[in-house]
């Protein structure tokens, strides 16, 4: 059981691939860390893995099967900027319930207060928005989670608390977790394995 990307090439400008034949795999229940310089393609790889960016070439399989469209996506991406991942004209409740309806227990695990549900993204803080984004990604059918700089906008206490809950849920449901971050100290605390983006690029050449 694994999320496997093979020989992925992708870029934003014609004939200038940012990732060139990169291969990557994430097993169920594994917590993997990914770091590297800004601009080296970490987030891009994350987007490809979450089936949100179509690669130019290469294959992407989940547990040996191809990705299906128009269903709940088993690979969920939590974005670096929550304010970009929420519809500004939807209340938080509507955004939260887009994919599935989370129960009270899950909401309280992430400290989401009832009073925030009726507000719009502009009326709550970045850290509060991010908690909604995390819960939104934790549907029953989620098998892999890509956390792209998930907690950089949070204070240390909230960060620790969120990771505590996220790790517990991933362990309980055997979710594979990819943590993309610049913060080595954080990665060392969370991950079984840490890889450098540069090496990932080199290996594949």
């Amino acid at each position: 059981m694994a999320l496997v990307a093979e020989n992925i090439s992708v870029g934003y400008q014609r004939k200038q691939p940012l990732l060139k034949e990169v291969s990557f795999s994430l097993e169920s229940g594994q917590v993997k860390g990914l770091y590297g310089e800004s601009g080296c393609g970490k987030s891009t790889l994350g987007k490809v893995l979450a089936n949100m960016l179509k690669p130019w070439s290469g294959s992407l399989t989940i547990d040996g099967q191809n990705f299906a469209q128009n269903i709940y996506q088993p690979v969920q991406l939590i974005y670096q900027h929550p304010e970009k991942a929420l519809n500004p004209r939807w209340t938080m409740e509507r955004s939260l319930q887009e994919g599935f309806i989370p129960d009270k227990d899950l909401l309280s695990k992430f400290g989401i207060r009832d009073e925030w549900l009726t507000r719009y993204p502009a009326e709550i803080s970045g850290g509060e928005m991010q908690r909604f984004c995390i819960v939104r990604a934790l549907g029953e059918k989620t098998k892999y989670l890509i956390a792209d700089e998930m907690t950089t906008m949070l204070d240390a206490i909230t960060q620790a608390k969120i990771w505590q809950e996220t790790l517990a849920i991933c362990k309980e449901r055997n979710i594979g977790l990819l943590v993309i971050s610049h913060e080595m100290a954080l990665l060392r605390r969370l991950c079984n394995k840490i890889i450098n983006m540069e090496e990932l690029k080199k290996c594949s050449l």
Partner: protein, 270 residues
């Protein structure tokens, strides 16, 4: 640290409230900032840390006068000993007071970043913009790209280049560090420190306690809209026994370099 240094910014008893419509014409008022005091001196880096939603960004927006229209601001903000009125804010911001915003959404998505940097520059705009790009570790080619083509960390540095330039006396940096790698982080921090050493006052709003401690002189901790503690950087060490407030101590112990999740057992959400 030299305490005789001139105070550039002095905030006293600041409170900010918002009027919101709930049902029809019914209104409610929420007050996210109450009785806040803080001062920033010339030549120092003053870090402001605290929980998300504790009003750190609002404080910055109040100083700059860019709060939304449904807000009301009470209390006093002094700039160099004189009351900072809305009119003065307008003349000073961009010229004497620089603001590095938190969100990369503050950039224009339809304008090349090089052009955004050159806005407001005098003389040879292109040359100066390129110099600024270089100063923040970006290349000329990066300047010809649109924001969506650059990574989060690069956009951070673009935000810096658009706001911090010559003649600035007070820099308010709202979370300048998330999402950038070690070397770029060090460069941004060094830049802030250098600006302070050259006489500017720097207020750095951040979650990154480690970074705040590397370059900061003093740290103010905010919680629920008010400043609960202002300590010198040296108080953040070991088990945090020199810190006054239990919340500050908890914050210090929660960073990944310290106890991280281990001290979180049975802690309620704050």
């Amino acid at each position: 640290m030299n305490t005789k240094k001139k105070e550039i910014l002095h905030v006293e008893g600041l409170s900010i409230s918002f009027r919101q419509y709930t049902h029809g014409w019914q209104q409610r008022t929420i007050t996210p900032i109450k009785a806040l005091n803080i001062n920033v001196r010339a030549g120092e880096v003053h870090a402001v840390i605290g929980a998300s939603g504790s009003g750190k960004s609002l404080l910055a927006h109040a100083i700059l006068g860019i709060l939304p229209a449904n807000s009301q601001c009470n209390g006093y903000i002094f700039y160099k000993g004189q009351l900072l009125t809305e009119q003065r804010k307008e003349t000073l911001r961009g010229r004497k007071i620089a603001f590095v915003p938190q969100s990369v959404n503050y950039l224009d998505p339809l304008m090349k970043v090089g052009r955004q940097i050159s806005l407001g520059l005098n003389g040879n705009k292109k040359l100066q913009a390129n110099k600024l790009l270089k100063a923040y570790g970006l290349t000329k080619i990066d300047g010809q790209k649109y924001p969506y083509e650059l990574s989060g960390g690069m956009l951070r540095r673009v935000l810096f280049a658009t706001s911090v330039r010559e003649g600035i006396e007070l820099i308010i940096a709202d979370e300048p560090t998330p999402g950038i790698h070690q070397e770029a982080l060090q460069a941004v921090l060094k830049e802030l420190r250098l600006l302070a050493d050259n006489g500017a006052a720097v207020m750095m709003i951040t979650h990154d306690i480690k970074s705040a401690l590397t370059i900061g002189d003093r740290v103010t901790v905010m919680r629920e809209g008010t400043a609960i503690e202002t300590s010198s950087v040296s108080a953040f060490s070991g088990e945090g026994n020199k810190l006054q407030h239990p919340y500050t101590k908890m914050l210090w112990l929660s960073i990944p370099e310290n106890q991280f999740i281990n001290c979180q057992e049975d802690q309620p959400w704050l």
